[in-house]
Symmetry: C4
Subunit: 283 residues, 4 copies
């Protein structure tokens, strides 16, 4: 690790959140925020599509389209009634039959299998100049093509080990340096998730989140974060603010939860239920 540069770490503060959260303009209509595409869910993980979908809908999106299996649509559509659906979108993107360059932002991965279809879909998605977030099943060890639109990767420690080649020990001891180095090399924003999440940008800046608690240490909270970043991308002008504010508010909702409830008991979808109130408190 001696070749790793020790980056300056900026703590993303309440003040910064207050200054960078967007105003929802009175004259806007749903088209003003564009359409976000969420590629998520699958036969054994339908819930991931639901959690990420709910979070995106709560995070400023204009319109949300969820590309998932028919089975998952059946399971979740009544809980994300405000979204519309694209059956088998991952397959159709993989085989080139589905256009996607018109989306304002795309997120792929929660609840999808890390298989050949997902790989091929990600290859295709990377060709478009659309802000793209890859998480969970869409995270693999690869090289990324040059693109001008933001690329955002949201691995937790284990996933970062898998995609970066760093050892778990290196990541745990030097999270900021590892994320920083990876972000620079791959021209990607890295959200290295953990008790204090690190956000490393491709321009070299490194941020640390200051919210969140162990109520988040439960399956599904990462899916919620992916949805929140996706939604925030559609209503923020600068993508880095979208990431930083999503990570901040995600943790702030968990902090709100444990004021009155045990940290052992939170469910990931409750982050999205608290978000309307918590977001308001920073406006």
């Amino acid at each position: 690790m001696n070749q790793l540069h020790e980056p300056t770490i900026i703590v993303w503060s309440q003040e910064m959140v207050r200054h960078t959260l967007p105003k929802r303009k009175q004259e806007s209509h749903k088209g003003s925020f564009g359409t976000a595409l969420l590629l998520a869910g699958g036969p054994v993980m339908p819930g991931a599509a639901l959690l990420a979908g709910l979070a995106a809908l709560r995070s400023g999106v204009g319109k949300l389209e969820i590309g998932t299996s028919r089975e998952t649509i059946r399971s979740i559509a009544h809980r994300t009634a405000e979204a519309t659906y694209i059956p088998d979108a991952l397959q159709n993107i993989a085989n080139g039959s589905m256009p996607f360059s018109h989306y304002r932002a795309i997120a792929c991965g929660p609840g999808t299998l890390p298989d050949a279809v997902t790989e091929a879909a990600v290859d295709t998605l990377l060709t478009a100049e659309t802000p793209l977030l890859l998480d969970a099943g869409a995270l693999s060890k690869r090289r990324y093509p040059e693109r001008t639109a933001p690329l955002i990767l949201t691995p937790h420690t284990g996933e970062f080990e898998r995609i970066s080649g760093f050892t778990q020990e290196e990541i745990l001891q030097f999270p900021a340096s590892c994320a920083h180095s990876f972000a620079l090399e791959h021209h990607a924003a890295v959200v290295l998730k953990g008790p204090s999440t690190i956000i490393a940008l491709p321009d070299g800046r490194v941020f640390q989140n200051s919210t969140g608690n162990s109520a988040l240490a439960k399956g599904g909270t990462g899916d919620t974060l992916t949805g929140m970043i996706l939604g925030m991308l559609t209503c923020h002008v600068r993508y880095e603010h979208a990431i930083l504010n999503a990570v901040f508010l995600h943790g702030a909702c968990a902090d709100e939860f444990i004021k009155t409830r045990s940290a052992h008991t939170m469910l990931a979808h409750e982050i999205s239920e608290l978000l309307p109130f918590v977001w308001k408190s920073y406006e």
Copy 2:
């Protein structure tokens, strides 16, 4: 646009709402309000049927029947348990095998595809003397037959452009004039939706709504409005009051939402959840 008459615009006020909201008579039973028919939803937009259905059930309906695909029934029936269902109603209306003149009011369009089946169904629906609301997938450029029962069209700007022949610029600059002219020509009530919704009646009167905010700039809010108008048609004596009060309360619910929550975070079904309290405040 020089041929367009500049109409007088009446702002539909809180006072007017208070004076025109119906009393639900103590001696009434569900039959007193008749049965409303909602034709909505489909494979990729099941949520639209749910949103419109929930809104109709909350808006004074006696009985609600939802005509939609079997798949959509499966998806939503437990969220609109108070409704009953007609599988494949659109097809059956289109092919003339389903009677519908006994309904108190009919709404068609949220989440339906603008295809030949929908077109044929609308053609058939227009033959009956039943108040008829057309939205979304049921809005197309057409001529309407003469009828005595109210015809209500609820386009947003883009849809109005499609059905009216006016350019987007004309509509954005002279919304009231465009809606007015269209309403007169087609003997239809036009609800031209946007940040300040215009309601133009076939008798020449033009109203402007005074409620609502950018929390409504998100997919699904139009479906909720359609359901609200449908429900209100069954409990108001005059159809124009049904429209005006539905549009007003729809916006007022969103205004209530943002008192405590961020405008970025509202989901369309929450309008229906707030409606019981907001409606009460005007009684």
Copy 3:
């Protein structure tokens, strides 16, 4: 109507409710309240099974089994997770292959079609000495066999016309007399539903309900009442108290609703949501 005896009408009062509501004994277990069977729902009315099921579960039941179509089970099981299911129960009762004499109480009808299967099932159900409630699709013009267990019929005016031979005018003008006469003749408890529901017992007593309002004038509220009576039958010692208290609390929940919300907006399942608090207020 001159042959009709004008019965004395007892208004079922708050005091009577307070004195007859059962105590749930500390030493009880679910078996103490037995198992109730609800036969309800079907392809186009799945919601009726949900509404009646929720209401039964909230009304003191020990265990609830819902006999309905497989499709309906799929639709509703997650909303009535505390119940278990019997697919195709109506058919199996009709063809004699399903035993049912072990149930504490049975209700049949909400959302079922008034067809030959239902008729045959009702014929079979009437042979057992189990408290039996017939509603909606299970109400038809018939003669009832002699039995010692309570038989309860819950028609609204239209249904009572159909099963009794009285004209609508007679029923509306002399509801208590009509119900009284029918109850005596058929040895059945008649719950003649309307703005002031009449409860006529086979022993000649006639009661009138004093709660409820026009928020109940909407599809589904009758299904909720059926479930409430079914549940109350399992926890009350005397079946007539079960009926009277169910009708009273059903109306009282609606009265609670409109304290803060418009009567136009209530959904039938909300009666069941208010019941825990309203019931408590009479204990």
Copy 4:
């Protein structure tokens, strides 16, 4: 019963709960709590999987996998969106094709049929050194192999009669002695459920629960308890504390419920909804 030793009974007190509830460490991640496996549900009892799943998710689990039928997954996945699913897990464990020794804890039985598949699956599960809870359909009369990992059985009186050979009279008159003797003989922790639940440990200690009321006397509350114990096993260091605290909090939630609501009206899933607040009050 004269051969039965009268054991000393320790009442598990509020103080003991306060001292033994785990802290959720700030530095934890979902992996810190491991993955729990819930084998539950089936065609006629899908709700049991939902109730136990919700309860486990609320009880400190890191990740939850629910092994159930495909039909049940379809029914419940949107209510337990934070879990992932294993279709046909019971069959696959029974036929040896599914590994399970990596789970932190396993619970089997709510809503499963007491058939040959379940029996074979339980036989297989007993071979692994993983904390194992057997309930409902997984409880049968059998001998248990020697194992070092905890074995937990959660019968109610009727189920205990079936698996123990004690008569119902013996169990009702000497519950602690019966549970104690069974626990010693079978090296299992016995949770003998009833109005005052007895917890007998294989080391001879016997505890009595001091919370709970007749609101729990309704179908589904046992499924919720199973899920709570499963979840608590993953976040407690000592398995006996997991059991004792789960039983205590389960009853305490019911006690909280009846402060404002009638005991007749509680639904089992509401225990899980109250748990976050009730748990907090003991932290």
